[in-house]
């Protein structure tokens, strides 16, 4: 077993394109949706990497590729030194034990015809070596207790639980195989505000208890700041800024990150007139036909000629301590007043 702080996930130049076909009998490819287009990052044991971005930026596709639910077009996803994107058969099955997922919608991600015990215990049917048959019921009850549900409710059905409790069931299922990495795709966005905090606190407690590493995908920047150690900001299939949470939130360098952060409403009316707001014009371009050079240049107020010609690489730039992909990167605090 690996020790704390050790690298357990390495993503390099990951690309996922979905082909766009035309014709019914004679299909030909006329283009591709570039959902994920060259993404690289690392994840250490016990660490949380937050991934933020708007709808269509490729963050959910990224999650699917990490889980090997989609094959990457190119690039690699190394988990403990092995590439899950190229693994097949028994090897893939073994690797999947190590990376599990918690889904967004607790209403549709649980089978309504299965009892909670069957839902949480289903991973053991596939990975029989983790829990021998006679041991499963006890294991499932342990898991229920770990996520704060009553172990006696093992024979209930999902509809007998509230949204927050269902999300706990989803988390228990994710924990069943004792993975090292859990990919959480918008785990709290379907929940009521007073329930969100319960689930966030649960995820943090489980992380400390089991030394889990999280990939935490969300569009809510406040939630991501709360839970993440590092944050990656995605725009149109690429990471435009990557760094420690304090770097990203207090010293954002990429114009898109600044616009995104300035748009987040702060639950405090004091100084609301003084807060700086960068209102972006228009919508993100289509990932089937992204702009040349920097993808953000069509909505950027700093755009110059070079932005259309040369693609800015994700690297540490002058005057900043973390990586950003902008020719004119400059730190600028937009979150705090005064």
């Amino acid at each position: 077993m690996a020790t704390k702080g050790e690298r357990i996930l390495e993503v390099r130049d990951l690309v996922k394109h979905f082909p766009l076909n035309q014709g019914i009998v004679f299909k030909r490819q006329i283009g591709a949706i570039k959902a994920v287009d060259g993404v690289s990052f690392d994840l250490d044991r016990g660490e949380t990497l937050g991934i933020v971005g708007e709808s269509g930026c490729g963050k959910s596709t990224l999650a699917k590729v990490l889980m090997a639910l989609e094959r990457p077009t190119s690039g690699s996803v190394m988990i403990d030194g092995k590439d899950i994107g190229r693994a097949r058969g028994g090897e893939l099955k073994r690797m999947r034990r190590n990376i599990q997922m918690v889904m967004q919608d607790p209403y549709t991600s649980l089978n309504p015809r299965m009892t909670v015990g069957d839902i949480i215990g289903e991973p053991y049917d596939i990975h029989t070596e983790v829990a021998p048959k006679g041991d499963r019921r006890r294991k499932v009850q342990e898991l229920l207790e770990v996520v704060g549900l009553n172990p006696d409710h093992i024979n209930r059905y999902p509809h007998q639980f509230s949204g927050g409790q269902r999300q706990r069931i989803g988390i228990a299922r994710g924990l069943a195989l004792q993975p090292e990495i859990i990919v959480c795709d918008e785990p709290v966005s379907a929940l009521d505000v007073s329930i969100q905090a319960q689930v966030i606190n649960l995820l943090e407690r489980l992380q400390n208890e089991f030394d889990l590493a999280y990939i935490f995908i969300a569009h809510d920047l406040s939630v991501v700041r709360h839970i993440s150690d590092r944050v990656a900001v995605m725009y149109l299939g690429k990471i435009v800024e990557l760094g420690k949470d304090t770097e990203i939130y207090d010293k954002p360098a990429h114009p898109y990150t600044q616009a995104l952060l300035s748009a987040v409403p702060v639950p405090d009316p004091e100084g609301r007139e003084q807060r700086e707001r960068i209102i972006l014009q228009g919508d993100p371009p289509s990932p089937a036909n992204p702009p040349s050079g920097c993808r953000f240049r069509t909505r950027c107020w700093k755009a110059q000629e070079i932005c259309a010609e040369e693609e800015p690489l994700l690297q540490i730039r002058e005057g900043t301590a973390h990586e950003s992909a902008c020719h004119f990167a400059e730190t600028h605090d937009v979150v705090h007043v005064g």
Binding site: A197, V223, R225, Y249, V266, P267, P269, R277, I279
Partner: protein
């Protein structure tokens, strides 16, 4: 029992001392097979021209049902309004005849819904749907009404309105669809605009665009706006005053600055402490324990008592009225003084 109806339309012009819209002790219940669901239990609030009232609450708190009662779009049955008044410029809308109500709905009180894609008709062009307002309510002909539709699309800043007027809803992005909804709602210059979670389905940058647009339209026309939301951030950004709802009741109302600085109800206090903030790091998230109440089986006394850290014996038996804290503030908690003090300490 059917109430007498009247055809007298609400007056126009000056308001005197009367608020633009006043909801008084409104009750709404739904008769369903498992029993009577009391969704709204005595809600009162008022709105003045140019003012923004935020109604804050979680799912099932009755915030949307109250709005639907104001609009007169509740399905009756199963819904029933056993008690209460909705006074618009002094006239009780609940006593109006159906015809007179139709004159008010859409023209003088308009509404924006959360999900623009399902609120728009997929088989008609957006231009047709916007211009319908003018044909139906103003008796305009087709050409003039479409011209007005283009003007409105410009006003809500849809780029290339003239070219896009004949497009269908699915050809627009989520933010643009919400702009179309807003165009329809402001078409007839309403005096009250009810926005029910207008940005919940949208990305943050688009949310900022839409909220800015709404604020601007409000400044131009001096509409009163009721913003229904669960997002404490959005409320802090735009509201003048807030009504917090829980279990079909208003548990706290206050001007926006007071409520964030010193909440006077344990539920509001818990909510404010339970949300992570983008400008702070390392705060501990307080989680309100337990679950929102089941409307079929409401707790006795104060609906919040099973989840409340301030609970005393009388909370289980006595339903707290909305105690007046000051002229503009109220809290439905027997121990609002302790809640206020606890915040200072």
């Amino acid at each position: 029992m059917r109430k007498a109806t009247t055809d007298t339309l609400p007056a126009e012009g000056g308001l005197g001392n009367e608020p633009l819209l006043a909801v008084e002790d409104l009750h709404v219940e739904f008769h369903t097979r498992p029993g009577i669901v009391r969704a709204v239990n005595g809600v009162s609030y008022s709105l003045n021209p140019g003012e923004t009232l935020a109604v804050l609450g979680e799912s099932g708190s009755g915030k949307s049902v109250t709005a639907q009662a104001i609009m007169g779009i509740l399905d009756m049955p199963p819904a029933r309004v056993p008690k209460g008044e909705i006074r618009f410029r002094g006239t009780d809308l609940l006593k109006l005849s159906d015809e007179a109500r139709t004159q008010v709905r859409g023209q003088r009180i308009a509404m924006i819904f959360q999900d623009a894609l399902s609120a728009l008709n997929p088989v008609f062009t957006v231009g047709w749907q916007i211009s319908e307002m003018f044909r139906v309510h103003r008796g305009m002909n087709k050409r003039d009404s479409v011209k007005k539709a283009i003007e409105l699309m410009d006003r809500v800043r849809i780029p290339a309105a003239r070219q896009r007027v004949n497009d269908y809803p699915h050809q627009f992005s989520g933010g643009m669809r919400q702009r179309i909804m807003i165009a329809m709602s402001i078409a007839l210059d309403p005096e009250v605009l009810i926005a029910d979670e207008p940005t919940t389905a949208l990305d943050v940058t688009v949310q900022a665009q839409i909220m800015e647009l709404l604020a601007e339209l409000q400044r131009e026309s001096n509409m009163g706006m009721i913003l229904i939301t669960h997002d404490l951030g959005v409320v802090a950004d735009v509201a003048d005053k807030i009504a917090v709802m829980y279990g079909g009741r208003i548990v706290e109302n206050a001007p926006v600055h007071d409520i964030y600085a010193s909440p006077a109800h344990p539920y509001t206090k818990g909510l404010l402490e339970s949300i992570p903030r983008v400008d702070l790091k390392g705060q501990d998230l307080y989680a309100i324990k337990g679950l929102p109440p089941n409307l079929l089986d409401m707790p006795t006394g104060c609906a919040f008592h099973p989840r409340c850290p301030y609970r005393q014996d009388n909370c289980v038996t006595d339903t707290p009225p909305l105690y007046e804290i000051s002229g503009t503030r109220g809290s439905a908690c027997h121990y609002w003084r302790e809640v206020l003090d606890g915040d200072q300490g």
